[in-house]
């Protein structure tokens, strides 16, 4: 079991999943992210799954739950970097990831969240080259 690091970039939390997720890892990430959203007051969560070789029903449910919980806590979730083979398999498996927004890569994910928010302070923080927190 491993803890997956969560990075705060301005108003956004960024997670890049680089391990083969056990079910308990997924549960931990769900809890950790909810806590960090509340602690930081983040308005966006970007989850990079480009290293994941599969999204099965358990991981799919984790992504949907994170999106739903974040929404209640006033943050939008964007899942980025899904591999084409994973996307094809996900659809055939019957998973639709309700409530989960997706983007091709981290940059597009950040832009998508920025477009949802008119807060200029947030946009400054999300634009590459602008001063970052931490």
């Amino acid at each position: 079991m491993e803890r997956i690091p969560i990075y705060k970039i301005g108003d956004i939390l960024l997670v890049s999943i680089q391990i083969d997720l056990q079910d308990q890892d997924a549960m931990n990430l769900q809890d950790d992210l909810s806590n960090r959203v509340v602690e930081t007051g983040a308005h966006g969560v970007v989850i990079d799954i480009s290293a994941l070789e599969l999204v099965d029903s358990f991981i799919g449910r984790m992504l949907s739950t994170i999106a739903a919980v974040s929404r209640v806590l006033d943050a939008r979730t964007v899942v980025v970097g899904m591999r084409p083979a994973v996307a094809i398999t996900l659809v055939e498996l019957g998973l639709s990831l309700p409530g989960v927004e997706t983007a091709l890569d981290v940059e597009s994910g950040l832009a998508l969240i920025a477009s949802h928010l008119s807060d200029s302070e947030f946009i400054d923080a999300a634009v590459p080259g602008a001063a970052l927190d931490d």
Partner: protein
């Protein structure tokens, strides 16, 4: 007619074992020459079925091997438990039906991802699911 060879058995008793099954299946799928999409489908189906074995079967084992018929090579995986069995198989194979807290996609979804899906279950005795994915 198919014949299996060099089967590897993995005990399924924890979350970590589900990951182990995925990795084993992935290795064989690559060596059998399955396309990336077919590898992903087989690994995903195996993940669902291994989790079923753990959660609903109370643990069990996966038996993974190469298989071939006259024209094709592929990977076969069996998931075996001595759990409570499935009382109503038709119902269990419907999308969205679950006896637990899952999404109800494990059996029905994984059946769509593979070329062969045989389910054998006896109430009170256990469940065996056999899947095959062929190379193209």
């Amino acid at each position: 007619m198919t014949e299996a060879s060099d089967a590897t058995v993995v005990e399924i008793a924890s979350d970590a074992d589900v990951v182990r099954v995925r990795q084993l299946v992935r290795g064989l799928a690559v060596r059998a020459g399955l396309s990336l999409v077919d590898q992903t489908k087989l690994i995903t189906a195996s993940s669902e079925l291994a989790r079923n074995t753990l959660v609903y079967g109370g643990g069990g084992r996966a038996i993974v091997s190469f298989t071939q018929d006259n024209t094709r090579r592929g990977v076969e995986a069996q998931f075996v438990d001595e759990g409570p069995g499935i009382p109503d198989v038709d119902q269990a194979l419907q999308d969205g039906w679950t006896s637990g807290s899952g999404l109800g996609l494990g059996l029905s979804g994984s059946r769509r991802l593979v070329d062969v899906f045989d389910l054998d279950t006896d109430v009170g005795a256990g469940t065996r699911v056999r899947i095959v994915k062929w190379g193209r």
